[in-house]
Symmetry: C2
Subunit: 238 residues, 2 copies
């Protein structure tokens, strides 16, 4: 256990596929040297650690939870082990910590204090959907969630479409899974007929992965069901 | 060799670190079933395949090169094996194919023809630098290369800074390595003193990795040398 003291940003699985299919073996070696974790959800973090290495001594570890319920004043203390010279691991609920989750705040504290921050490689549904979409990967924006109401959402979709046309940059966003089908219908109605929409659903899931790029007019006729499956939406006007 | 016929987007190493440190074992298993590759550079692609699996039958493989020298009319034919039911692998010079490279054009053809496209997980210096920067990962833009001349570059930097301030979105860009030091100096001069700049250099390189976030005013005083090392630049105004 001579792992260098640093904040390790550890990607976790984004489906039930075997961790070795999408997580580099090197990550497991690094995790083996860590006993302090900052995690979005303790239960899923423990489950991930156990799936990566059934003999990992979870009982010897501390877990600090960082999510919508965390007191902002508490976050600073999560890095106490690192300040004392011990490595700390950070894990999101799924995918890469610090991307589309609250994790960036901890990396920001580490950077401010000059504490070493080390990102590990792993699955990112945002980047993987971009790779497979066929859309511009030399310029792209990730825009997080869209507004919830249909009217506000349609307005935002038109803004993103116009930005995509003006800049050539791929526009990426996400949606709460149970709203996926409604959002695809809204996109098919709202976008210009020839604007390309990619829906990337169930990335890395051996049963459910589906990544489809079509012009909006063809999405109107397509049969789909993305409810309950995490999905990424991408728009291109090139 | 019963790998499903699809276009596999295969991330490759971004440093000389051992592939197993940053490439999932599952990727190697998939590559083992592929004999047709579309690659940015044949020499580095062969080297990567050999490093992943010294017994890989490179002599039995076909390689089509996709880069600035490729005749655009030829690209369509690169997917011929896939149209005949054989898996095709796509590899960039470094990192994730289809992101910050010419690879998206092939994925676009595959999508247009309804050919299955499968992204694999792996290292992306863009995403890994974002994870470690401490910057907003719920909204970010990758802007590719900046203009070359100092005057044009400074203008573009000010635009990106203003966008970062207005939208809160992290602004990411890259530079040709031999211009890195000059670009850091220009950024330190051009950005407002309290704008945060992260320089992420040599990601995954055990000797050279350095990821530093500081306000522009402190970059003016800092000693650095990023020449010859691939680096990512990130700006935040949050």
């Amino acid at each position: 256990m001579n792992l260098e003291a640093a904040l390790y940003m550890i990607p976790v699985s984004i489906s039930d596929a075997a961790p070795s299919d999408f997580i580099p073996a090197g990550n497991i070696g690094i995790v083996a040297g860590i006993r302090h974790f900052i995690v979005e959800n303790v239960r899923t973090a423990r489950r991930f650690l156990r799936r990566c290495d059934p003999s990992f001594p979870i009982g010897d570890c501390t877990f600090c939870e960082l999510n919508g319920h965390t007191d902002p004043n508490e976050i600073h203390s999560f890095l106490e082990p690192l300040r004392k010279g011990q490595p700390v691991g950070m894990m999101s609920e799924a995918g890469c910590p610090g991307v589309a989750d609250p994790g960036a705040s901890v990396a920001a504290i580490a950077q401010r204090e000059g504490l070493k921050t080390v990102p590990l490689a792993g699955p990112s549904s945002i980047l993987m959907s971009l790779m497979a979409s066929g859309f511009n990967g030399q310029g792209f924006s990730f825009n997080g969630y869209l507004p919830i109401s249909d009217a506000e959402k349609a307005k935002r979709v038109r803004e993103l479409e116009s930005t995509a046309a003006k800049t050539g940059m791929t526009q990426i966003f996400i949606e709460t899974p149970y709203r996926n089908n409604r959002t695809v219908a809204l996109l098919a109605e709202t976008l210009r007929p020839d604007t390309l929409l990619c829906v990337a659903s169930g990335i890395t899931d051996p049963e459910k992965e589906s990544i489809t790029t079509l012009p909006a007019r063809l999405w109107k006729k397509k049969i789909y069901d993305y409810a309950k499956t995490p999905s990424i939406f991408l728009i291109s006007r090139r």
